[in-house]
Symmetry: C2
Subunit: 333 residues, 2 copies
Amino acid sequence: MTVTNRQIHLVRRPQGAPTEDCFALVEEALGDPGPGCVLVKNLFLSLDPYMRGRMDDAKSYAVPQALNQTMQGATAGEVLASNHPGFAKGDKVAAKFGLGWQTHAIVEGEKVLKVDASKVPLSYYVGLLGMPGATAWYGTRRILDPQPGQTLAVTAATGAVGGVVAQLARLAGARVVGFAGGAAKCDYAVKELGMDACIDYKASDWKEAFKAATPGGVDRVFENVGGAIFDAILGRMNAFGRVAVCGLISSYNGEPTPIANVRSILVNKLMIQGFIISDHLELWPQAHRELGELVVAGKLKYRETVARGLENAPRAFLGMLKGENFGKQVVAL
Amino acid sequence: MTVTNRQIHLVRRPQGAPTEDCFALVEEALGDPGPGCVLVKNLFLSLDPYMRGRMDDAKSYAVPQALNQTMQGATAGEVLASNHPGFAKGDKVAAKFGLGWQTHAIVEGEKVLKVDASKVPLSYYVGLLGMPGATAWYGTRRILDPQPGQTLAVTAATGAVGGVVAQLARLAGARVVGFAGGAAKCDYAVKELGMDACIDYKASDWKEAFKAATPGGVDRVFENVGGAIFDAILGRMNAFGRVAVCGLISSYNGEPTPIANVRSILVNKLMIQGFIISDHLELWPQAHRELGELVVAGKLKYRETVARGLENAPRAFLGMLKGENFGKQVVAL
């Protein structure tokens, strides 16, 4: 058989905020999979903030995305044809390192994992049961370890990572104060995700609202954004506070986002830990087992924004960088 | 017997940089020590940067220095009269929490420790074998744990703490790059303390010199100063670097000292730990035992700047805050 594979390539590196003309749609023909390989039809593609960093040709925690190549990213899909004894047509599979922004791929069987899409939707394997879920679990459980009575602050609080962080912290008995953009997200954060308070960072009085929501200060921080919000949080830390730095989305386009409250690190004897979940692959199975059990048991809520069609992936990606998504951003192919 | 005790009180809180009129000399008469107490003649007084922070009436890691009370600080001296079975006239003693900026004090015997001044000078007990030594040891051994082949950067590198950090790191097999003010201190750092390089931060080309001295980047940082130097160091960190934040002397007078290289925390997966050695009193004996053995064996160099006379303590303190001292600043009373 032959299928037409459609791909999104990175064709231009952005100057500042990326634009749609950084991307181009490319088609190729794919034949039958060779020995040991499978032909996968991607059904879901993950869009994540870290991809912005890889669009630059700069030192980062990952090698830059190559120009004129398919954008990399996590995917989940099904096997169309198999030349590998471990897979059969129709198997649902996820790729830990992703098959990228394309509709199909031929890969060695070892690069994909069969997954069970009977209890949770297949799309969850690029989010809650993929990199973002592992990130939330590792930062919350292994770095922050929030305790009952402590206050945890989380930015991008309704996002793919932040929403899970907030719920894990609540389950651990902590008070949770989130930051999100707009009344609808904040409403969701409090009413659906169970946060004790959510600060709308688009409101002019967000600093006062944050202060009012943290009368006892802040003990734990899961930082996804950086900039003025991070600085304000540092200014409200309690002694022996911990900060997990997972992302700094406010600076991904190169804007300077200095922090002034450096003194808080000393005075409050803070521990600040930057981390990238790909350094901790050995813990992904444990993270996903625990998160899967929680979501199946109804103890963990998980929300997605679904764009449709590969050709709409660039626009959805640019929107996500501006916070237009609500929960995990995926593309249904 | 009656002695005249001379004390330095804090009489005014500084606005910005402290001045001599923040202090006043006060005299009082002391009689015989009561039951369980000793009369101590202080021979050495420690002057330390942290004292600047306590002069403000602001949240810090220690309660503010009270107005119109004797400035607090570490001391070493000898027993003039004892009404405690554990002490005799002539015993050399150090006070862990210090007897303050005064020539004499009557205290409960439990508040002082008999020390052996036969192998090291008595003054070392307010420095290398006191708080600064414990600070250097804890930050280097317990937070940074430098390994052979790694590069460690230390600011205020010839100071009471920095000089010990540098030598402990060298003994652990690390390359050490110090920052100090002026050619004389840098010369001493390299030739006497054995640092691989020392950057004169008063030179206009210090950033280029730092870059040239760290071709392989920086793995470990012992930070005493903050501000532009700290920021430059963050910009040269390697993956999985660690930073011990011990002091931020550049901001003690209230100047803003923001850092711009926040992204390095994420990209390099840094661990930044602020600490105060008084949180780790249980480790002081181990630290002092190891440091004492090293200095007696000639493996650790230790330098002091000695001011003479209690009345000169304020001036020496203000000079130290500007970096005029060379090594540990003490006052011989």
